[in-house]
Symmetry: C2
Subunit: 189 residues, 2 copies
């Protein structure tokens, strides 16, 4: 396998496991079985490497979400399926969990920036999808960016904050059903 790919995989593993701050370039090099200097022939610096990885994960997520959207299904059905997909994605990819945790705990500039980037990407992705349905006349003419933002932030709040004040965490289905019942419900014509 090519060295660039090896490095990317090693770095993904380490960032997911230990976070950005606690991952050293030496460690990545060791896992990837390359010299530290080799990493720098492919990536300008640690930050750029991190960004590339995050970008890949985002792309993968978009693809997964897009895959479940069926032409023949209604907006509500598709929204439900896509949302479910993204929720389950979050569970599997520890990287996102790590990023969120690290942003709160250490305030590493690179991490803060990347988290903003991720949010930006997700919001604009959701916005795009909603806009499509607005143009198709299936959804009311709302401010799609605000809707997307509310969906993301609401979701994050339910997943990250809810259990700080409540005994039982919400299941993915409860969250999705609730969004279905309120926000999505208000959008259809």
């Amino acid at each position: 396998m090519d060295r660039r790919q090896e490095i990317l995989e090693a770095a993904t593993k380490s960032f997911s496991l230990f976070g950005f701050k606690a991952t050293t370039m030496e460690q990545i090099a060791k896992i990837a079985n390359v010299g530290k200097g080799t990493i720098y022939t492919f990536f300008d610096n640690k930050e750029v490497l991190f960004q590339e990885i995050v970008l890949r994960v985002i792309t993968e997520m978009k693809q997964e979400a897009t895959k479940v959207i069926k032409k023949e299904a209604s907006f509500q059905e598709n929204a439900y399926a896509a949302l479910m997909k993204m929720l389950e994605f979050r569970d599997t990819h520890q990287l996102f969990a790590k990023i969120i945790a690290e942003e709160q705990e250490w305030r590493t500039p690179a991490v803060i920036q990347v988290k903003a980037q991720i949010e930006q990407a997700i919001v604009s992705f959701i916005k795009q999808k909603i806009d499509k349905y607005i143009n198709a006349g299936e959804v009311r003419q709302v401010n799609s960016e605000l809707v997307a933002y509310l969906l993301l932030k609401g979701y994050l709040a339910f997943v990250n904050d809810w259990n700080l004040t409540h005994e039982k965490p919400l299941t993915e289905k409860e969250i999705t059903d609730f969004f279905q019942d309120t926000i999505f419900h208000s959008l259809i014509l």
Copy 2:
């Protein structure tokens, strides 16, 4: 004026201006024109004093919000008015802004706890109001606690986080109109 009241006002002033951590008991005593020991004859400790003040502000806010709710108006109208009132309240009371900022920056246990308390109080207040309208048959049978939670967290996200990634902050009216158009819109029968 009685000493207890003087202390409360001095402490409110200082907490609002400098936050919990940066306010010293000596400073409160000086502003209130009492000896430091006197504070402890009225309040067990700094934390209790802080809690009492926060509780007072919450109570005041509830009263203000309740005041604008009119028996003869519709759910949507009342929701809109109450929300507007709470938004404007937030602007005027720097204390809340300080608490949120301090929670993020310093993680003072007392502040984290108080912020959770405030959120709890606001959510249960909103929930109560929604439940009333559900019982009156004006609102669909939704999970009112989730709605209340989403309203609060969504609102906080729009106010605190939106301008981190966007040039122009959202006006109170934009936020309220948006909630009106989506969440509240989905609730009415």
